[in-house]
């Protein structure tokens, strides 16, 4: 139960950061999301994002910042095994589920649905 509360608070908190970037810094949604991904990658590199995921579960792994963290994680994991070339080959290792699902179901969606309006 505690996990749910932390997921809500941390996940909501990351969205608040995004909303502040939209409203106060007047960034576009694309700029906001790109910035959050880069932030996630940097935090992942510093080893700060994994503890957050452990602590808040989906609250940290569902927001887009976890995409950056997962990219770094995949690159480092494979680099440990295969050396420096692993950075290239491993970068999508962890995020494959997210990207593949988005492409596959996005494509299926375009077959099923018609644009509105």
């Amino acid at each position: 139960m505690e996990k749910f509360i932390w997921a809500f608070i941390v996940g909501g908190g990351i969205c608040v950061i995004g909303q502040l970037m939209l409203d106060v810094l007047k960034l576009t949604p694309a700029h906001t999301m790109s910035t959050l991904v880069v932030l996630g990658a940097v935090l992942g590199g510093l080893g700060l994002y994994e503890p957050l995921v452990k602590f808040a579960g989906a609250g940290a792994s569902v927001p887009i910042s976890s995409f950056g963290n997962a990219l770094v994680k995949g690159a480092l994991m494979e680099a440990q095994r295969d050396g420096i070339i692993g950075v290239l080959t491993g970068i999508f290792e962890v995020t494959s589920a997210g990207i593949s699902a988005a492409i596959i179901f996005g494509f299926l969606g375009s077959l099923l649905f018609r644009p509105k309006g």
């Binding site: 909501g12 991904v37 990658a41 609250g59 770094v72």
Partner: protein
Amino acid sequence: MSNKKIKKLTLTQQEYKVFAKAREPKRPVLKNVIRAFIAGGIICTIGQGLQMIFMMYFGFSEVTAGNPTVAVLIIISVLLTGFGVYDHLAQWAGAGSAVPVTGFANTVASAAIEHRTEGYVLGVGGNMFKLAGSVIAYGVFSAFVVALVKITVKALGGM
């Protein structure tokens, strides 16, 4: 807007800028922030619930359960986008629905659906990542740099 850009405008255009700025509706920042917090929190809580289901019934560990959770959230998001529900949600929630991975799926699905009239190859295939592409491009490049820096630092004996 940078000073350089402002200087290029004629006097009337500058006056208009000031005029427009004074009449721009104030953004209700606090209301937006509260809405983003609630919507984002709820989406993450649903994700947490899915994660628990995958851990309890499908034998995923705490680390690996994140992947199927993200996939299920993406399917839900694509369906909601197709039925036109996600747009309404996004209007209310702002960043609360854009920042979670569902927002990423929404940009992919909405771009794909919107451009289907231009054909399946040029329209759907070509435009699918119109909005989501920047996230992938910046994510991958920054991850590449971060990973290289980290490996270098490690090789030099730090951390």
